[in-house]
């Protein structure tokens, strides 16, 4: 399989010789890439004259690894998830980018301070932030009576009804501890101790009888729409789409959200490395990042972008309140820890499954 990939990428490279004033960006396609073309590609071409070619992939991490191994790289910039970026970095597939070389925010804050804490690494420059949140059906509650905190999700006395929970320990354990009163900053330190883990599972025990477990991201909006659950863990983009495009009465509890991020990396041997670096610096600066957020409900990773985000495209409603990165949504938020999950994915997966199977 790998050899086949290498062969096909090698032939692909012959067909498309890159010119000096052209860079190729590999993204994920769909609405996500559409937002990036509007916010990054077009303004960059207008500003520099460099053409940006957009190609799609299921997950750019796989093709760029094959290209680098085949020594035939056609992609200048790849859009990656942070976990893949760090792995490819460890494997030497990515050119490190010095965070200090990135432009300061519009308000003059240095890049290292402007990006949300923990998101900026030399492996990848973040472009957007997505989040796992608690969503509920607002039509089930009187005005202002709906759940407001992560603790409410675990409070089946005050808010009776079924809960949708992700069938994976990631995010679930973090939310359980935050609901139990652990401050976001101490969650991972606590999860590293056996007592902390027991505490998280004990908290989950309290709602296990009311839980409906889901696996795919498309399930939670469906569970809510069917009335199968009254609230559920969900990805914020899915809930935003259901509310915005299908008019569902869904609302989001941002308290206790756990966010992850995606961004741009330059593969080793990129045909137009200098222009690629320029593009990355441009696209991840304050304004383009804010612009992209008007097309899709993923938040800009720079604090200085927050005030620049305008209305949802095609409407006259502001996008800001729908973003994981809005200041009021970040009051009790946790950045998902890469190191923690790289270390304990298997172990906690086993324990979580054992917990699921136990009656």
């Amino acid at each position: 399989m790998k050899r086949l990939l290498i062969l096909t990428t090698a032939f692909g490279a012959l067909a498309l010789p890159a010119t000096a004033d052209e860079i190729t960006v590999m993204g994920w396609g769909g609405a996500y890439t559409a937002s990036q073309i509007e916010a990054y590609h077009k303004p960059f071409t207008a500003a520099t004259g460099t053409t940006v070619v957009s190609v799609d992939s299921d997950n750019p991490a796989t093709p760029i690894k094959a290209q680098v191994e085949a020594n035939n790289v056609t992609v200048d910039v790849a859009i990656l998830e942070i976990a893949d970026a760090v792995r490819l970095c460890d494997e030497g597939v990515i050119i490190p980018i010095d965070p200090a070389s990135l432009p300061a925010g519009v308000d003059g804050t240095a890049a290292a301070d402007d990006f949300l804490p923990g998101t900026l690494t030399e492996c990848m420059v973040p472009t957007d932030i997505f989040s796992t949140i608690i969503a509920y059906d607002a039509s089930k509650y009187a005005e202002g009576e709906g759940p407001k905190t992560i603790a409410d999700f675990f409070d089946t006395e005050k808010f009776p009804g079924k809960r949708g929970i992700r069938k994976s320990p990631k995010v679930t354990l973090e939310m359980a501890l935050m609901a139990d009163g652990v401050p976001a900053g101490e969650v991972y330190a606590m999860l590293e101790t056996p007592e902390g883990l027991d505490r998280a599972f004990a908290k989950l025990d309290t709602i296990k009888a009311d839980a409906v477990f889901w696996e795919a991201g498309a399930q939670p909006p469906q569970l809510l729409a069917d009335g199968e659950v009254v609230m559920t863990m969900a990805y914020n983009g899915r809930i935003f789409n259901a509310a915005q495009q299908e008019g569902k009465p869904f609302d989001i509890v941002w308290d206790g959200q756990v966010y992850e991020w995606e961004g741009m990396s330059i593969p080793k041997g990129a045909p137009n490395e200098a222009a690629a670096l320029e593009f990355v610096k441009f696209a991840t600066s304050s304004e383009p990042a804010a612009k992209a957020a008007e097309f899709i409900s993923y938040g800009p990773p720079r604090k200085s972008s927050a005030s620049l985000v305008g209305n949802i495209q095609g409407t006259d409603q502001p996008m800001s309140p729908n973003l994981p990165t809005a200041t009021e949504n970040l009051t009790n938020a946790l950045a998902s820890s890469l190191d923690f999950w790289a270390d304990r994915d298997t172990e906690l997966g086993e324990r979580y499954n054992a917990w699921l199977a136990a009656n």
């Binding site: 460890d90 790289a342 304990r344 298997t346 199977a357």
Partner: protein, 415 residues
């Protein structure tokens, strides 16, 4: 009369025995050519992948090939040896090589399978490999105090050979303690044995339910006039031709809390609005949906066997004075056994490996071992996924052998 001692020959004088053998060999070669395409196909798509899967379950070279120096130290020193300066020096040498080749990630992942939390320890230390200088032990401890933990060294020791039984230990809920002895994993972590047992019990239950449901249907199909039987047959086959996902999703619509079944029960006053039945996202859901999906695999073999049972046998038994129950038990049932055997074996083996349906409707307690195999495939822990699959395969083969001993595989009739 020919001489009894002279061998029989053909007309051209060759011994008959040799001529016959030659002709037989030619025929066998021709037959081999005919089955060759199938043989190659089965080899490529079945035998080789399964062989690779079995190989993967005890072969994981990612640490051993990246850490040859420390592997040599482990080979030269018995289990339980306190790591000395030479051990740390060997490890430092390996880390420098890993850092240069950017292979610390894959090596660390292998050790992490045996002992959680070693991945970040190893990648972190490898990243700082350039700063490692004698005395090495102090240098390692300065980076992280965990390097003094004997459990870390034991985990590296068991990762330091490419061939390992570690994954089978994990798959049977065992682990290696810091001193190298094998022990059961803590209670809260035990999952695989429990799930294997549950998988086999649920599969057996689904097989029994399928049999109870399919037997009367197959009998009806076999005894009705052809035109009506064909119509009924289409009803049996229609779901069979529908996509698995569509059928599973339809069951969700039917069985969920606000679904068709619950709404009907509430409307009829059978259950209160507050006590709607939990029919899905649990073990009940898994059993109902899997029974429906696997039912045709039981109906078809039963039908094909029942169709050829002559009705005259039953009539003869009745005319000789047997009650209808005796006739069924002594005359009809034994003749359907090949169909029951084939159907039960098919349904059971399919159920044991089922994964998509339990994933969608199984909720917390309706998961099967295949869902955990999928989980580990997802996490790229292919060795553990392979070990679990191999154990599942052994379980099924054991049952198959048992079936052969009890019923006889030659009695199987698939259609």
């Amino acid at each position: 009369m020919t001489d009894a001692t002279a061998p029989l020959t053909t007309t051209d004088g060759r011994p008959l025995k040799a001529a016959l053998a030659a002709a037989g060999a030619r025929a066998r070669r021709r037959a081999l050519f005919l089955v060759l395409p199938l043989l190659i196909f089965v080899m490529i798509t079945f035998v080789i992948p399964i062989g690779q899967m079995l190989h993967q379950s005890f072969y994981n070279p990612y640490f051993s090939r990246n850490a040859p120096n420390v592997a040599a130290w482990f080979a030269g020193n018995p289990v339980g040896t306190e790591p000395d300066e030479a051990a740390y020096a060997a490890l430092a040498e390996d880390f420098r090589a890993m850092q240069a080749a950017k292979t610390a990630g894959e090596a660390a992942t292998r050790v992490n399978y045996t002992l959680p939390e070693t991945r970040s320890l190893i990648t972190k230390t490898a990243r700082n490999a350039g700063d490692l200088a004698p005395p090495y032990k102090e240098a390692f401890l300065a980076i992280d105090k965990k390097w003094a933990d004997p459990a870390v060294w034991q985990a590296m020791r068991s990762s330091s050979t490419a061939y390992t039984s570690d994954f089978y230990l994990i798959a049977a809920d065992f682990e290696r303690a810091a001193d190298g002895t094998v022990q059961k994993v803590p209670d809260k972590q035990r999952i695989y044995v429990k799930l294997f047992i549950k998988t086999f019990i649920l599969s057996a239950l689904i097989t029994v339910i399928c049999l109870l449901l399919a037997f009367p249907i197959a009998h009806l199909l076999a005894t009705l006039p052809m035109a009506k039987a064909n119509l009924l047959m289409i009803l049996v086959l229609l779901p069979f031709w529908t996509s698995l996902l569509v059928r599973t999703t339809s069951w969700i619509v039917l069985l969920q809390q606000k679904g068709v079944v619950n709404e009907t029960f509430v409307a009829l006053g059978l259950v209160g609005d507050g006590n709607r039945l939990n029919l899905i996202y649990n073990q009940t859901g898994t059993i109902i949906v899997m029974t429906h999906i696997l039912l045709p695999f039981m109906v078809l073999p039963l039908y094909s066997v029942m169709r050829v049972i002559p009705p005259s046998y039953a009539r003869a038994a009745r005319s000789l004075g047997a009650t209808s129950w005796t006739t069924f038990r002594r005359i009809y049932l034994p003749q359907t056994l090949p169909g029951i055997g084939a159907g039960a074996l098919l349904v059971f083996i399919l159920a044991v490996g089922y994964y998509i349906t339990p994933a969608l409707v199984g909720g917390a307690d309706g998961q099967l071992i295949s869902n955990l195999i999928d989980f580990h495939m997802d996490k790229s822990n292919w060795s553990l996924a392979a070990a679990l699959s191999a154990l599942l395969l052994v379980g099924v083969l054991l049952l198959y052998w048992l079936y052969d001993r009890l019923v006889g595989i030659d009695k199987l009739k698939l259609g």
